[in-house]
Every structure is written in C-alpha cells, then in structure tokens.
Symmetry: C2
Subunit: 450 residues, 2 copies
C-alpha cells in the first residue's frame, strides 16, 4: 500500500501493511477517550507538536499555505473549522497510546497479517436467516430500525479528575436520548486490541457489535465528548434506505479539495451489513500502531490537502479511502450537513440562549443542534487545546441545555444554563396523564398509533 | 404523629409533622449519592457519631445491649450485618444535606403542609385508560412487565476525585444489565426537592417516574453504589402478582424483633399503582429536613430495636411504617431474601473467585449474587467507613466480575478480577451467529419464541 496511494491494489485483496514488533513506537495517536496511563517517550511527539502548532498559527494568521481552495467558505467559519479539526487531530496524537501489554495474546492471529477478525463473507445472508429464526428480536420497531449507539472511554480514571465527572454527565445524556428514542446503548471501557489503539479502537468495537447483534440494523458510533442537544430530533432514516454509511461532512471538500477535514468520524452510523464489514476491513489497514500507522500517515499527508505530517488517524484514513475508492463505496455513503450529526461546540454554546428564545427542539440543525461535540477540550486528559474553564463552563451549559428538554416532562428545568439547581416550571396535576400526552417527547413522536 | 407512635391516626389522613423555617438544621442525613458541597456546622453531628461509634464498638464486642434477640442468627454474619447497617446509616447522617437554595420556590405548595405532590386518587383507573389509548407503549413485553430502573447521584463533582470514576463504571454496569433485560434506565442528577434531601429524595424520584410513565409497571430504585453482579438472573416477577413492593429483608427481624435493619431500601421495586403512591405519601411524612426529620428520628429510635439516636432515615421510616400499619400494607409486600436483591459487598467480594470456579451466573443468591452493594464505602465523599484501598479494590473486582459476563458474548474476559486489561477467550468465527445463539444472555433467556 505504501507504493500505491490510490488503493487500487486493495480493491479485492487488501494489502497488509508492513508489521513491526520493535519497541520504537513513538506513542502514536491517542484516542481522546482512551488517554492516560503510562506516558512513553514524548520527545519526538513534542517536536512534532511544536511544528504542528507553528503550522496552525500560520494557518490562523491566514498564510497562503494551502488556503486558496478554501476561500469559498465564509472566512471566520473556515478558520474556525480548520482550527477545530487540526486541534482535534493534534490532541489525539499528543495523548498516549494504550500501554502495550507484555503478556498480550490478544489475538490468535497476532503472528499473521493484521485484520479486524476472520474474513466474514456471507453476513447479509446469515443475518437474514438469524432474524427469521429470532422474531422476538425485531430489527424494526415502531417504524424505526433497531439501532445500537456505542461510545467508549478508558477503563482507568481520567488524568484530570474533573474528566470522569463529565464522562458521567455525558453518559447520562446519552442514556436519556436512547431511552426516549428506543436506541440500545453500549458503553465500552475495554481495550479490545492493542494494535488498533486510540481512536482506531472504534472500528473493532463497531465490528464486534455488528456480528454479536444481528438484530441491529445500524451501529452508531459517538465520541464520549459529544452529547445530544436536541432531544426531539431523530435521524431521518427514510432518507438512507440505499445507504450504508451516514456521516457528517461536505462533499465538495471531500472530492474537489480532498481536504483532510472533509468528514467527521466523531459521530457516524454504519448499517449492519457485509458492505460495512468490508469497509471496516479496508479502513483498518492504516490503523495498526507503529510502522503501519506512520507509513500510512505519510500517504495521507501527501494526498490530503492541509494535512500536517502526522501518523494516520481514522478520520483521514476514511476520507482517503472514499476518495481513492470512490466507485466502490460512494454510492452507499450519505454525507450529511443538513443537520448537526456532529456540531462543533465553539460555534454553538454561546448561542444556546438565543436558540431557547427563538426556536424549539426538533430542528437538529444550527437553530437547535442535534449533537454538540467538544472537540479539543479533552477534559479527561490534562492537555486540552482550550482553556479549561471555558470548556467546563461550555460543557455544563450544553448538558443543562439538553437536560432541560428531559426535565420538561417532569415539570422542571435548570435555573440557568450554568446552574446545577433546578426549579419547578408547572404545577403538578392530580391527573398527571395529561402532562404525559402534552410534554412526553416519545408521545409527540409516536402519536396515537397502534 | 409525634403523639401517636402507632400511626393509627394517619391511616386515612396523614398528620402533617410540625414544620420549621428556622436555620437550626444540624445537617441531617445525607444521601450517599447526594453528598458534598458546603459543609454546615458538624459539631453536633460529630458528637452523635462519637456516641454511635462507641455503641457500635460495644455491639461488636458482643455486649449484652439488645443482642439477646439476635442470637438466632449465625454469630459472625449477625455482627457483620449489624455493623453494615449501622455504618450505612451513620455515614448517611455524617454527609451533608443539599445546600439550601436561597431563592427556592421549588414547590408551589411551599407555604402549606408538606406533601410529595397533589393528592392523586384515581391513578389505577387513569393509568389503565392511558394504556388502552397508547398501545404503542406496551406495559408487558416478551412476558416481562415494563420496568424503569432509577438511580441517582449529585449534579456536582465528587469530593473524592475517584468517586466519579466509579459512579461512571457502576452506571455502565447498569446500562449493560438494563440493555440485556429490556429495562428502561433513568439516571437522575437533580435535587428535586430541598425538603426531601439526601436519601429521602428517592421517594419523589419514584413518584415522578410513576406518573410520567404510565406504561411502567414497576419502578426499581437502586443506589448508585450498588451494581449488578449476576447478569443472567432476572427478578421472578411471576412470584409478585399480588405484590406492590418487593424489598430485601427478613420478616422475623421486622415483626418479631422490630429491628431497625430488617429491610434494605438500597434496592427495591414498587409497582406503579395507587397503592404505591399512597405508600410514598405516608412514608414521606418522616422525611422533610429539619425538625420533622429530627422528631421522627426520636420516634424511630424509641420504637425500633438497636436504632441509635439519629434523625429519621428512609429505611427506618419504612420499617416503622410496615410494622405500625401492618394490616394496611403488608398483604401487598414481598420481603425477599432468597436472592440478593441487595448483597452486602464485604461478605461477597472475596468469594468471587470461588464462585467462578464452582458456580455460574443465574443463581442470583449467595452462590452468584444478583446485586453487590457497596454500603459504607462512599467513594464519592471522603468519609467512608472502610479503608479506601479496600473499597476501591473490591469495587474494581465486582465491576470486572460483572463485566466478564457481558464481554463473554464478544469473546473476551478480564485478565484478572483486579485487571482493567482484557484478553480474548475464543477465536472468532466466520459465521458469528453461532456465537450469538450460544453466548448471548438474552438469547438464552428468551429462547426461540415468537
């Protein structure tokens, strides 16, 4: 693959990247939600960070390096978006990889070429037969496809003690959304594979869930630093009957500019299908820590506009994959920007108050964002790219903004967006079912149908 | 009520306890999961603790104070149980109440007699009609009654930074159990009422859920320091067709000894019914912070064997209620000890290894406990009654013991009960549905029925 940047040789037989068993890993990307633990040698990482930060500074100061193709966007939003994405990748790299396990026998295939698991070839058929045999596990309920939402964090405590508190709050937020909308929630705290460390771990988690839950129609990955801020909005699944991947991004940035930030893998959905298993297999090739990831990083940097010299991250790898194998995959990919499947927090949190005055939940877009994603805050680690106070206050606001929508059914709301205290907003009734019909989100969504 | 210890005057018209608006609260009981914040004047509390600890010492040394009626139990288990319960109550008192809210207008009824809400009188009928109108929200699914499990912690970070990490892990544990068994999970982080502070807050949370979710057949309260350790076991609901309250405890301790630790309110279920709303209303009378709770505490201490001089706690209050109004309530109460609806951690964690060698999940009893409850650890606060290291290690063991049962479906387990690292325990299959049928807990429970 190192010699073939277009992946053409991989269309049928994914080439296995060079393996290494040496100890010269430089740490590699670190998942924002898989931080901490033992810190390896970070000198090389710090040099790269210094270079990268200088690069970001130049970009922010609107130097001419590679910006000419971005001028079609509104200038401030453009810079902000670029900074956001750069920061996100940089911080992911700064964090440490999972510590290598000296006794690791994690995979029976550890001495052979890397793969996410044995090659499954007949999944659509096997899944269909299983579903037929197991009608007690429906894959469509109330007109909605059965969906598993998966998120993840480290099994160890956060380096920054406040981090676990916000992981907890953001998890409660996901519990609320999933309960209201009938989505199954899976919270993973295990490192499933030492090779696919950091953010790459999501690929294996998604695959595991697909094959263990044939009743699941969609697997939805969401980062632990993202939360639902529109408790009413639902994914418009009817739009995606012919799709297997739903992801936030911009097609012109992807195909015209080949920008390294054209898509966001912090929140996306994959249909439980053979197609998705195949995509994961190919996608994973750039993931194994160490040399494969470094070499892949070079390919990505040379191929994607604006990408700094970094080892491969899962987002860039997917972008590259969809560009270089466009004909194979794109007819089943929906790139969404009509609602905030991923919404960058910095452009949203200061507008919550205005949103509450002007709009209502259900829009899912810039008027009332579906998901607010705290990229770059890294409250679990101690190396975020924004001032800690700014992040914490904003996270609290987002949490309460969402929580108000849940508390509404029970007749409460927060006293203010930064307040943990709540107050009653309507008198209770001696016939409370009237409030259930009026204020229940599920009731408004599903109406009175059998 | 202060003049009538048998509650006889309250059978129809609960007497309202004297209210106070003075500031001479001594802090009152503090929910183990609603700790922290501002600490009031603790001198009086500390004196009481000193006396209580001396009392516990005497009991442990097997003095003759009130132990004669406990000799029917095996000696060590008896002492341990007594200590456990004493510690639990003591630590609940030591923790602080929720800080008073200076602008509180929490209840439109704040100037009138305390109640959990307006008197609902026709709930069974209203609920039945609502269910008939809303068949899309079934109250029985796959032969199981619709159940909402509710747990709670403070909206503020833990005083002890490790506390949030274990709240997070224990919440993940509940997510897993609820997902496997089709139970709705609600995690509350709001102080709903300043009067019903600390552990008393659960009464209002339960009521709110009942009236907001008419499709719920059962509301299951579980403390945040309790976790599921048998991922297979299910509540045998068929036993409770005539019951409205399912609670762990011992009938002879309740009625013969009138022991203050005869029941455990850390994990119990209430049927969503008029009966339960009525019970909550009566139960709540001892709850309001300040003078009502203090006065009620005196009644409880004089009425219940072994109870130290403490303000009223929810558990003692329920015990007193069921004893003094036995004829009104007990025909609908199931006191369970045949499985660990609540299992005291100290007698269980050191046996997990033995359990894994000899038994298997599904028993739910001492062989493989359904719930392990970390009473007295108080990892969120900084004043637990056990060494911190002992608690943390035990909680980690319990978490991994449970997590192994979840990871089994995916082919993994923890390397050891205290290890966060996992290892693969079986090769993956190219036809993964065979593993779903073989290792899926839900599949083993529900079989192949339509």
């Amino acid at each position: 693959m190192a010699a073939d940047p277009t992946y053409s040789a991989q269309k049928r037989n994914p080439t296995i990247l060079p393996q290494t068993t040496s100890d010269d890993d430089d740490g590699g990307p670190r998942g924002r939600h898989l931080p901490k633990g033992r810190h390896g040698d970070r000198k090389f990482g710090n040099i790269r960070i210094t270079i990268l930060c200088g690069f970001v500074t130049v970009l922010v100061l609107r130097g001419t390096i590679g910006l000419s193709n971005l001028v079609s966007f509104e200038a401030d939003a453009e810079s902000q978006y670029l900074i956001e994405e750069t920061n996100r990748i940089v911080t992911a790299i700064r964090s440490d990889d999972d510590p290598p396990d000296p006794d690791d026998e994690n995979s029976p295939n550890s001495t052979s070429a890397f793969n996410l698991g044995p090659k499954i070839k007949n999944w659509d058929q096997d899944k269909k037969l299983w579903r037929r045999r197991n009608p007690q596990f429906p894959y469509f309920i109330n007109g909605r496809p059965k969906t598993y939402l998966v998120t993840s964090s480290s099994p160890s405590p956060c380096e920054n003690s406040i981090g676990d508190h916000y992981l907890l709050k953001f998890l409660k937020n996901k519990i609320d959304y999933c309960r209201i909308h009938g989505i199954e929630l899976v919270y993973n705290t295990a490192h499933l594979d030492k090779e696919m460390s950091g953010h790459w771990g999501k690929l294996l988690q998604i695959r595991q869930l697909m094959v263990a839950h044939p009743e699941a129609e969609w697997i939805w990955w969401m980062d632990s630093d993202a939360l639902f801020t529109d408790m009413v909005f639902e994914i418009p699944f009817h739009r995606y009957r012919s799709s297997n991947l739903i992801i936030h991004g911009y097609p012109d940035m992807l195909f015209n500019e080949k920008s390294w930030i054209a898509l966001n893998t912090g929140s996306f959905l994959l249909r439980n299908s053979q197609w998705s298993l195949d995509l994961l297999d190919v996608w994973a090739q750039m993931g194994p820590r160490g040399r494969p990831r470094e070499e892949a990083g070079k390919i990505l940097t040379s191929s994607l506009k604006g990408r700094p010299a970094l080892e491969a991250d899962d987002q860039s790898a997917l972008i590259y994959l969809l560009i270089s194998q466009r004909e194979r995959w794109m007819n089943m990919v929906s790139i969404e920007s009509s609602y905030c499947l991923h919404g960058f927090w910095e452009s949203l949190v200061d507008r919550y108050k205005e949103m509450m005055e002007k709009y209502r939940p259900g829009f899912g877009d810039e008027r009332w964002p579906f998901v607010t994603h705290f990229v770059g805050c890294r409250t679990c680690a101690s190396n975020g790219d924004y001032p800690v106070e700014r992040c914490l206050k904003s996270m609290e606001m987002a949490y309460n903004f969402a929580d108000n929508q849940v508390l509404n059914l029970y007749g409460f709301r927060h006293r203010g967006l930064v307040s943990t205290n709540i107050k009653r907003i309507r008198n209770e009734s001696v016939t409370p079912v009237v409030n259930v019909d009026k204020f229940g989100i599920r009731n408004s969504l599903r109406g009175n149908k059998g």
